[in-house]
Symmetry: D2
Subunit: 384 residues, 4 copies
């Protein structure tokens, strides 16, 4: 890949949030330039609300400074990128302010907790784009090499026309009914449960892999454990533990989605199966270096799902890493995301997934909720 336009000064980054996602993003910024030919980048400021904790995290994860007020980074000339890992309820406010301040914005998924916020962010992104200010939403699983390869194979026609898709995201961290109450289980703070948190990934993958969009949805939500130990005694769980949906795609495919946080034994299983007229694909995030591919154009005697170990130099992102057979981990997809965002900024091209793509996922999630509230009746996606 040739870099068309490398800025003179390093791109300065501020990341907002230092917990799980902040740690994963920090790791990406710290390592991206060691593996990929990207514009020079500097970890300038890590932002968080607890001064002591964010200072410690900043020191640990390679940041030059820490700060407690996210607004402070918007006025700094040496900050070019604002990377938002704060809770979903803050996404809109920070992202819009940062875009208006002329900062490129990377925001964690989901885009926001509400459709209204998502739409406002998307408008802000469109306005900023005119001025060369870029934005991106962090559906990092698009950068898992096996899934990026899956998209390539589908785009090349190796599956023919896609008919049926099965997507599931199964976790089990809430299987224990004594697992305590958290902000993630309150509708006020989290918006929804498994739906927004993990079905969002599944739905984004479907649209990404097929390069298509959902037009119609039937959905169902369920809470298996309706009360959990809270700080002041038992507290009602106000979000879903599990969600189901069937989706119609504009191109004619039908997809199913099932997600759960009580699927005992599945730790982090984003599973996708795509069935086409000429071939099929199968993937599981718990074995993220592998893609299964069935090629119906092979002779019937040797047809079968092949286990592609996605570690060859011709696989997406792999030439930067290790020799064949030396597998990657979960966090590498964040490094790939940082690479692609930096390259897009340098080239002045629009990174993907854009806020529009993030909004498209939000619209599907919203329709699932609406359908679930209406006895699973099919709901049209507005504008589709």
């Amino acid at each position: 890949m040739t870099l068309h336009s490398v800025p003179r000064r390093p791109l300065g980054v501020a990341t907002i949030g230092y917990e799980f996602m902040g740690k994963a993003h920090s790791n990406a910024w710290r390592n991206v330039a060691a593996f990929f030919d990207v514009p020079a980048v500097e970890q300038k400021v890590l932002v968080g609300r607890d001064a002591a904790k964010v200072a410690e995290a900043a020191a640990r994860h390679g940041w030059a400074e820490s700060a407690i007020d996210w607004r402070s980074v918007l006025t700094r000339e040496d900050i070019n990128i604002v990377d938002i890992c704060a809770p979903g309820s803050l996404h809109a406010e920070i992202a819009i302010a940062a875009l208006e301040a002329g900062k490129h914005v990377l925001v964690e998924k989901p885009l926001a907790n509400s459709l209204a916020e998502s739409e406002a962010m998307t408008r802000a992104a469109a306005a900023a784009r005119v001025n060369g200010v870029q934005s991106m939403v962090g559906f990092t699983y698009r950068r898992v090499p096996a899934l990026a390869l899956a998209r390539e194979l589908i785009a090349e026609g190796k599956l023919g026309e896609v008919r049926q898709v099965r997507a599931a995201y199964l976790q089990d961290w809430l299987a224990d009914e004594q697992a305590p109450m958290t902000w993630r289980l309150r509708k006020d703070s989290a918006g929804s449960g498994a739906l927004g948190d993990i079905a969002s990934h599944a739905i984004d993958q479907i649209q990404f892999l097929l390069n298509d969009s959902v037009t119609e949805v039937s959905g169902r939500l369920h809470t298996f454990v309706s009360e959990r130990p809270g700080p002041h005694g038992p507290e009602p769980v106000t979000v879903d533990d599990a969600a189901w949906a069937t989706l119609t795609l504009a191109g004619g495919a039908v997809a199913s989605v099932e997600v759960s946080r009580v699927a005992l034994g599945r730790r982090n299983a984003l599973q996708v199966e795509v069935f086409g007229t000429l071939g099929s694909l199968s993937f599981d995030l718990e074995s993220l270096n592998e893609l299964r591919f069935f090629d119906a154009r092979q002779s019937g005697r040797v047809q079968g799902f092949s286990r592609i170990l996605v570690t060859e130099p011709e696989h997406p992102y792999l030439d930067a890493w290790w020799p064949p057979g030396h597998v990657l981990g979960w966090e590498h997809s964040f490094t790939h995301q940082a690479r692609d965002f930096l390259l897009a900024i340098a080239a002045g091209t629009e990174p993907s997934p854009s806020f529009e793509e993030g909004l498209a996922v939000q619209r599907v999630l919203s329709a699932v909720q609406e359908s679930a509230a209406a006895k699973s009746s099919l709901i049209q996606i507005p504008g589709s």
Copy 2:
């Protein structure tokens, strides 16, 4: 197993139908007594409409005679069991007549093509039962040892309370859009497509494994290839290629079902996953000697899905066969079915799955169709 009551004379069997299912049932009758301690049984008559073909099939599969009129066997004193492998549209007529003639009846699944016929058969079975005449519907997958073991483990509480079930039955024999028209693709003859043919298995398994019943259904049907080459040119396909449903169980579990005949690369994949509060199970008919079991009571350091090779003498049906590690095939479940039916007849107990259980599956299938016709809206199962 001790036989409490062995009839003096061998039980005479007449099987009606000699194609795929007739071949599988013949194999069971021919072999059951070699492996299991069952009442003496004789393959008396194989019945089919084409005299020459049925005669050849009878000779090949070990039958003493062949016949072309199924009514002829009802009046024979030496026939004790009528085994119906004829098309679904004939099930009701034959079964009711046979029961009224005092013959024990085994009928292939699904019980019938319509709810009304299924209900009439169930009434006939109830009436006959009073006279010691037994009846059973052929959901043979209940006798796959791994699934029988799964039911045992669930009944023993090894999974705790079951919350979520995922069932799929994926085939691909219709993936090729040039695959020709058959009676199975016409609503008149087949009733429905993948729904009645294979979703029936998935739904029966859910009710069997959980020992529970479905109360509520949301469903969806789709035909991916709407026209196929017929004997007189292109002909419309009037049944579904694929079906989806979510099911509420009386005990509180939620199950999803997805079936397809166009899932390229899946030859005969009845896949079931059951997630409980203490453990989980996973099964795939393409690897039918294996059951995966996750036991959350194990230490976290060694937890994981274990691959149980279901060939140990303590596994269901296995002490009759071969040493550990010597695997069984698909047709063995029919031999197990013959065994269980013969033992129930000998003992005068009611075999399972009964016609009532077959009817229960029909009611769910019917509700799926009704929901699919009503934009996937949730439908209550009558009487549940």
Copy 3:
């Protein structure tokens, strides 16, 4: 398949032995004609030393008669095939007498307990063959469809030139050191332990799959549990629990063999991997319907071991059974063996594996023992 020469009268079979192997062979004779177009065959006599037990087994497994003296069947005109499932120490005597009496002979593996006996049997087979009397040794795993397919793929050049083979046969029925003494653990009665019992299968597979012969051997034997509970107290185990060998093939390949009866968790795992210049294969008897195939001529982006479910009509033996995806079991390979033996008799062609092929395996086993006794030094196979 067309039958070139069908005998007028059914071929009469006598099987000698009614335990594990007798049961498997009986099953094959009882079922072969239901699935395959073979000459008419009749189960005439089952022979065993215990009159009551053999009579019961005969009744159960479909035999017309039972007998206690194997010699009695040699003089009967209605017996055409003598099928020897007796202990290895009796193979030579029975087989030679039967061949001399003009009976076609199928003998279980290994051919005999000693090289001298194996050589005498091979001479008798060669003499009988001149008179149209056929003989075969029961390496049934050659008839597992996945392994038969593997041989075809290799013969067609799909692997290019084979370089390296890894074969293992892992069982665990002796893992428990309290498992009692049996005749199989005494050198006098069994000849050897895991070596003769299961390494014989592994070595036959190597020679079968590659259509090649072993020229040179280095071997090792080990007994992990040297004493076991006998009928009169602790008794020394005088055979091996495990064996290792490396083999040179005439064509230049190198193969490793490892077998064990103490490999805890492996119930019946005959595992074979074949690595060539253009492709590779992998197989495990515990999943006997599957063959893994790696095709290096595929593009690097989609290369991977494909899991072939060996249930397609174009796979060996499969068109006789069930639709795709309906898997076979362990005993089906015996039915295939009966088919091939009957067809060879009818056609007057030489069945394979012949006694010569059985002898070739014995020579390798003998060389392993010799090498093991000589500090693993390489031993040439005589005559190779």
Copy 4:
């Protein structure tokens, strides 16, 4: 983990070599402190022979400086650790000089190309240790969490007494006979082929997992492609492509080792199976987040190899990374190695694997070569 003694100043590191291993080690030094509580560490100097290339690599991988003479770092006060990723033929000279200069030394595996050099290095390490100067050899696979867990489980007795071990390391980068000649294929520069490069890992794992030592060896070496395209035309390959060995362990276990660079389809498959009296384990580096565990103390009905996804906080090294189910990659084991080396230096304890342990592996490799040259005859390991 509590740090008992943290040095005042950061530990300065110089890494010698900037190719594949230099890149992996650089990554570890750059990231170790972000995830683990270790003494402060600084990437001071990257050393290589090509000034331009090493300068570029240093900039990319986070080093403060680059240098072309490894001796220059030995006299620098700010260098505490010398990390040797240079070719094996330079290990002895650099390591001994560094130890004598009072630098802690981490050296890539194998320890050296010859036994004599390995012994000299071990003597130097022992002498330096007296002065608190530490040394370690880079068998990083000991730090793959699944293998570290395997060692724990064995040490805790979960497998009972280990009897049989199967280790293989299968790669395929030399399967193509047109793959060009390199220094790795010349005996002068590489010492040996697959044996030293990858059998060394397999042998170290056996001794590590069992905490035992090899006493006796039978070995075999083979070169499948004896000539390859060199810079001046065809050139003979003077090292092995594949190697086989059986090993006796002091504690009574028997292990087999098979390694290959022509095992088409196996990219980087270090496979280990350990069979004990109470349990078994199985591992494959291509799926490095998984460990299979068979527990014979479970009821026979549910026994089976469980797939442990080694991503739980109670698994070795995992509490530093991501939530359960978020998998690690190949290079993480180098980060773990850096952590353990730093902690040992801080604590003044001896890191493992020591040079003595590296030498023990060399002695086994040497015995394999000796045995291979003597028709595979068993060779005693000196001093065992």
